[in-house]
Assembly symmetry: C2
Homo-oligomer: 380 residues x 2
Amino acid sequence: MTTRISTRTTTRIEADQLADLSSGAVLLATGGGGDPYVSYLSARQTLTAMGPVTLLKPEALTDDAYVVAIGGVGAPSVGLELLPSSDEPARALAAFEAHVGRKIDALVSFEVGGGNSMIPLIAGASSGLPVIDGDGMGRALPEAQMMTFPIAGVAPTPALALDYAGNTATFSTDSTATYERHVRAMAQAMGGMILTVEHPMTGAELKRSVVPETISFSIELGRVLRERRGNAEALIAPLRAAFADSIYGELRHLYTGKIADSASQVIGGYDVGRVRIESFDEAQPDLLIDIRNEYLVARLAADSEDEGRVVSSVPDLISLLDLETGAPINSERVRFGQRVAVIAIGCPDFYREPRALAVVAPRCFGFDFDYVPLEALPAP
Amino acid sequence: MTTRISTRTTTRIEADQLADLSSGAVLLATGGGGDPYVSYLSARQTLTAMGPVTLLKPEALTDDAYVVAIGGVGAPSVGLELLPSSDEPARALAAFEAHVGRKIDALVSFEVGGGNSMIPLIAGASSGLPVIDGDGMGRALPEAQMMTFPIAGVAPTPALALDYAGNTATFSTDSTATYERHVRAMAQAMGGMILTVEHPMTGAELKRSVVPETISFSIELGRVLRERRGNAEALIAPLRAAFADSIYGELRHLYTGKIADSASQVIGGYDVGRVRIESFDEAQPDLLIDIRNEYLVARLAADSEDEGRVVSSVPDLISLLDLETGAPINSERVRFGQRVAVIAIGCPDFYREPRALAVVAPRCFGFDFDYVPLEALPAP
């Protein structure tokens, strides 16, 4: 496989970088992507045993390289109980290679997000494959057709799913929206959380669709979170500086308060819910955040009704930081009484193009309003 | 492939035998198996164009022949609207052969039932493959693990599903109960009704598990239904004589009356419902029939409650005949006001063995009573 990869522009991820990568990726995952803790432990064990993983800049791939996306599909809340096994990613890759009858050259993350940032590294370390510095969302989003790969024209299949018991299924369809319906049904039938290998693509296709450098940027964000640990509000300035130099752009501190209510259910294989946050300043309206695996929309509650002024919405990023530690909080971990800072961050330009907004704008999630970029919204 | 099949014990099914086969199979299907009408038209067209299908007695197969079961999976009510295409069975077989990398020698029906008796014939005529005179249920039943093949130890996979749009999925698991969960989820995600190719087996495995001669017996039943057309009650005696000489045994005329209520919903990919029949004799209690795709249990309603004395239950057969025409009525076709005769028939001995009752007894469908063979129940 090495003939398809240039040795320029490669670095390595060592086991001791995984903690920073994990916490930075949770910040970018906007509440989704799955809890990283068990995946982090599994990745640390695998990289310690097998050695570091080669991290490739997208341009290191030759145009004819064969790349696949790998990660977990399901409701993140199920992932808290249905724990991943560190040998599953390599088994999924082997089953996929047997299915398609060819060798994989490199791996890429669906999404930069807790568990889903770790799974490609576990797969890479145990199978000896390099991992791309980048991902298919630049954040986490709940459905497959919302990835940059299909938006840029990559077909979703051949694709393979592996469940906790070693059962597999394969899929063949041209439409990623259809694939999403099929794979989501299988995720539910296979226990609520599965591993998939999907969206096989050439190096050329990857280079024109991937959100670049999000793995190395997560490590940088994780370093900021660790070095400034202890106070979310003191973190805002260094985080803002880091994002200002990135493909994301502006970071806004939307709100500070206490979780007054958090309700979610597993509906159709997703965590669906809403969080209400009360300000410490009684004069301020509550902040409401709608969830579908990820934090999708933040609104200031109106006096007479629940649905007030939008202060940030998908595809821009919304994240919750624990007020005392600064640690980002995944949506399935939000609990009554937590004190949090809420931040919003612009999304990569790819997601502001019409072809992307056609599948990720608020209306795609059932909201009755159009997307307005964070910078164009009045601050709360 | 002909080297794996003896020329002894083969006959042919011609297009003009399909009408009898179809109506006889609906009688054996106990309300399930899918409406045969469109499949019948499709089979007639295919056999007229491609010629007759070779019907093989199971003993005609050599022990190393490669046989697959093929049919429709889903809610029969969906099949009324999502019409089958006559080229789909051949496409499903071709996709299956590509998936497993070997040629199929013969086809067998999951179940002798309306649409599911026609699909293997369409597949056989269009692909040139012979079809076994027999099936995997000797009737219709709603779940894959209830087939004789898995009960006798045949693994469900490799298996393949094809949907109306040409999308496919494959499955790999050792457990037919797990396969049933997976394929049922895909049937729902793929529009409610799919074609599957599954339970690949050797000739030796087929010979020790198939319910034999049910296709030719359906043609014989269909002939009786056609020749005595016009009065269900006059049909009882010749049908009783036909069953008495078969692997089924006793036929009982349970009830005659009018459909007073029929309610069903698609739940979890099945048609689930209940029918209430009122006797023309007001002194007689109503008859209640519970449905899960098939008619499962017939009970005489008690005065004070709905659930009275069981007069027949799964795995024995329950069928409804239109009182005026004698035509068997599928569960998705039952309507208020229809006048019907209800008959019950013993099941093949295979289904009265403990290994079969472990998966098809009334308790497997949630009923709180044990199976008692028809002959041991007091007549209504």
